[in-house]
């Protein structure tokens, strides 16, 4: 585990050094003089040989000192923790949408196998898997902002709410925060902002959840216990409603876990389009500007999340399916 993270961070370190573009530029502004550049290079140890830089980097990383972002001049750790709440909120909300629609659709589709509704839902599922997430985001923006003017185009909250409810700055999770403090203005504002990006991200995962639920349910329907129930004259939908759906929980929870990873990749694009102040947007800008402390920080954060997710999936198996415990 630690070995993998060491591998990932080391590769990242060297890859970033290969990136074209001079990071010094980030430190000195648009029109620097020769001396300013030299000074900045010395200050950041960029004139040292690469192996020395690597050793220093390793030491610091192990002490969890991720350094200061060259672009924003903020400690990377602060930057990441601040932005992570935004990304997490978006991913979590998308996941809820995906489950809310995908799971029932899967059940209904399985119960109506090879009927019209099934075909319709399956087509929908295919579309979910195949739609380019940034394109969907733009189309949603055209419809709901450009034509209908119903929902805001970008951002996480309106500028004006910023003034009225200072609550926003206290914690990263705007939706939860404003909900529990009863700031309805902020809450609806934040909700209106999250709808489009969350739907854009949810669509792909919705397809995955749908397909998994559907095939799992079909499997169950051919299981012996199911036939027994049927023999007693109980309707398919009743069996599923009472007990059958439980057996789909393992595969569904697995794909949900794995989809978190997929979504984190999606945040790169969706956050850029919707100007969502999260980790994804931060990563893209960091890579493009060669802000290497930030890139390394992002990589460490993401690989850590993967490790955690995999751990949780394993735990879920144990909880949902007692047989594994032995």
């Amino acid at each position: 585990m630690g070995l993998i993270m060491l591998f990932v961070t080391s590769i990242t370190f060297f890859i970033v050094r290969l990136l074209p573009g001079d990071p010094v530029f980030l430190l000195v502004g648009d029109h620097p003089t020769e001396e300013q550049i030299e000074k900045a290079k010395n200050d950041f140890g960029l004139n040292e040989p690469i192996y020395k830089q690597y050793m220093v980097f390793l030491q610091k990383t192990i002490m969890l000192d991720l350094g200061v972002s060259l672009r924003t001049k903020q400690p990377v750790l602060t930057e990441l923790s601040k932005r992570f709440s935004a990304t997490f909120e978006l991913v979590f909300f998308s996941m809820i949408i995906a489950l809310l629609f995908g799971f029932p659709m899967g059940l209904v589709s399985a119960l109506n196998q090879n009927k019209r509704l099934d075909y319709f839902f399956r087509g929908f599922g295919y579309l979910g898997l195949s739609i380019p997430v940034f394109w969907l985001g733009m189309i949603l923006q055209i419809i709901f902002f450009g034509i209908l003017y119903w929902l805001p185009l970008q951002g996480r909250y309106s500028g004006i709410v910023l003034q009225d409810s200072p609550i926003i700055y206290n914690s990263g999770f705007i939706l939860i925060d404003s909900f529990f403090s009863g700031e309805w203005g902020s809450f609806t504002d934040a909700l209106r902002h999250i709808i489009l990006p969350a739907f854009a991200m949810a669509f792909g995962v919705l397809g995955i959840v749908f397909r998994t639920t559907r095939s799992a349910t079909i499997d169950i329907m051919s299981a012996p216990f199911f036939r027994t129930f049927k023999f007693y004259g109980i309707k398919n939908s009743e069996i599923i409603k009472k007990s059958g759906y439980k057996n789909t929980l393992i595969p569904v929870s697995t794909v949900v876990g794995l989809s978190f990873g997929l979504m984190l990749g999606g945040t790169f694009l969706v956050e850029s389009i919707f100007d969502w102040p999260g980790v994804g947007q931060f990563s893209v800008l960091s890579i493009l500007t060669r802000d290497f402390p930030a890139i390394v920080g992002v990589t460490i954060l993401y690989s850590f999340i993967y490790v955690i997710i995999n751990f949780f999936i394993d735990m879920l198996y144990i909880i949902v399916d007692p047989r594994i415990r032995d």
């Binding site: 074209p20 990071p23 648009d30 029109h31 500028g159 004006i160 003034q163 100007d275 493009l288 060669r290």
Partner: protein, 519 residues
């Protein structure tokens, strides 16, 4: 069943409430807050070294010794913290009389000691634009309100003290503040507004400074300035459209077009001191061939740029420096667009076109650069040159261009001056540099070097002669075909119709809220 209906109704009401717009922007109006929507945050709160978007808060918080008003013709200097000044015959000794009874936001008093402190500190820090003071060799305090500068060369010092960056006077108490707390927001100037709150990457709130020397009794002033950061242009667009913002920065053309018939928002364009051009690498094959460079320059159709690509946001360049800059003078002629002539030049170059690789690197984040690159690619294809496009962020392009091995043949550039003089372009872009910093055409000509120096030093004493020299230098550069001039950029001012008192001043890329009134 009833429960289902109830649920559905609740859901519907909930959804409906989501789609309603909050119209609480009235509060802002009543609060007398001027809201600016901008795209990035302050990176450096030290007024000595700040060199970027800091201009928005800082130009409202700080003042230099003199302002330069470039909105009138000819441009003139306006007293700020210096009420008057005089210079010696040889342009080496400058005496400034300072304004009395001026206080900083932290309560300390402004006098000649402060000016000396600021100039010396800036020189020592040597970051951002602080190098503008490098020609100062001696500072003498004559009295609390008079100060004398002795210069090492006869440069136009009034231009330096009115520079957009690096010329602000700030409280000496800055030295008692740690570098760290400077990073949490700092401001102590003499300007009309003082820093009240800064939420990083969200907003900067400035409040009026009651003891401002200019007073607050003249007009219907704004009491506060709220600078809101919205990185995406469409968010800023939405803010101005919904009336949340009074003034928005950098709104793309396409969005501006939809505002033109608006009854609430007004859009106007003002000349700026920024121009865009394409440097041709004179050391790298095949652009090291003069005729080949001329062929490329003749393929640039500037009329398409101004008519279709830039429209209102720029005008065709008339020289290598923007037309609105003081002492601007047009060269005899620019290389005209003509594909026939271009073909002719290409024949003269004697180059074999079949194995030729020419590349253009441009800043990918601007639509106009992209379309200009498309245009050039198409035109060059018509005369048989294949152009490779290399879009990228400026930092990447610039880094590659500084190394001759990775440098492109053509590179898009924009330039704006630190000191308002044509020489700013010439020194930075066309004077010989051993390791090119911004001389990305790798051009080196000792005649141009010495003429530039001469013109710059003559600016104060003999401006007419200086102007003639600037013309001569441009003629040489055009003859050597070092650069393809493109456009002089106009800045768009997107603001609420109600605001009055807005004046255009290309010398400062900001908005002076103190001068505005609410009706």
């Amino acid at each position: 069943m009833e429960r289902t209906i109830l649920r559905a109704t609740l859901l519907f009401l909930f959804c409906a409430s989501l789609f309603q717009f909050n119209c609480s922007s009235d509060d802002v109006k009543n609060n007398k807050v001027f809201v600016i929507a901008t795209y990035d945050d302050v990176k450096d709160w030290d007024p000595a070294t700040a060199f970027s978007l800091e201009i928005f808060p800082m130009s409202n918080m700080y003042e230099p010794l003199l302002w330069y008003d470039a909105g009138v013709k000819p441009g003139r200097f306006v007293p700020a913290l210096a009420t008057s000044y005089s210079k010696s015959e040889d342009g080496l000794v400058w005496v400034f009389n300072l304004r009395k009874n001026v206080f900083f936001h932290d309560g300390s008093k402004f006098d000649a000691e402060v000016v000396k402190f600021v100039v010396e500190r800036n020189k020592k820090l040597n970051g951002g634009a602080s190098y503008i003071w490098s020609s100062v060799s001696k500072i003498i305090i004559n009295s609390p309100h008079q100060i004398t500068f002795t210069l090492s060369s006869p440069v136009p010092f009034d231009k330096i003290v009115s520079s957009q960056y690096g010329a602000w006077m700030y409280s000496p108490l800055i030295d008692s503040i740690s570098k760290d707390s400077l990073n949490y927001g700092f401001g102590s100037g003499t300007g009309p507004y003082q820093l009240k709150k800064w939420a990083r990457n969200k907003y900067i709130l400035l409040d009026k400074f009651d003891k401002y020397w200019g007073g607050w009794n003249k007009r219907d002033h704004y009491n506060s300035v709220l600078i809101q950061i919205a990185t995406e242009s469409s968010t800023r667009f939405q803010m101005i459209k919904n009336g949340i913002a009074d003034y928005a920065v950098l709104i793309p053309n396409q969005l501006i077009e939809t505002l033109e018939n608006s009854s609430e928002v007004s859009v106007s364009y003002h000349p700026s001191w920024v121009n865009e051009f394409y440097l041709l690498n004179t050391k790298k094959y095949p652009t090291n061939n003069l005729w080949f460079r001329r062929a490329i320059a003749s393929s640039m159709d500037r009329s398409v740029l101004s008519n279709y690509i830039y429209k209102n946001t720029a005008v065709e360049s008339k020289g290598l420096i923007p037309q609105s800059i003081p002492l601007f003078v047009a060269p005899d002629s620019l290389i005209e667009f003509s594909l026939d002539i271009a073909k002719n030049y290409l024949n003269k170059s004697g180059l074999d076109l079949t194995s030729l690789k020419t590349d253009l690197s441009y800043v990918s984040t601007y639509e106009q650069y992209r379309l200009t690159a498309f245009l050039l690619l198409d035109n060059l294809k018509k005369i048989g040159i294949d152009l490779d496009l290399r879009p990228g962020l400026w930092s990447t392009n610039w880094d590659k261009a500084k190394n001759l091995d990775t440098a492109p043949n053509i590179i898009s550039m924009a330039w704006w001056p630190t000191v308002s003089s044509p020489s700013d372009w010439l020194f930075a872009l066309y004077n010989s540099q051993e390791n090119p910093l911004f001389n990305l055409s790798y051009y080196s000509n000792s005649v141009v070097d010495s003429l530039t120096r001469k013109a710059w030093e003559l600016e104060t004493t003999e401006p007419k002669v200086a102007q003639d020299l600037y013309k001569e230098i441009q003629n040489i550069l055009i003859d050597d075909c070092v650069v393809i001039p493109a456009v002089d950029v106009n800045v768009s001012s997107v603001r609420k119709k109600k605001i009055s008192g807005l004046k255009s001043n290309p010398a400062y890329s900001t908005i002076f809220v103190y001068d505005l009134s609410r009706n």
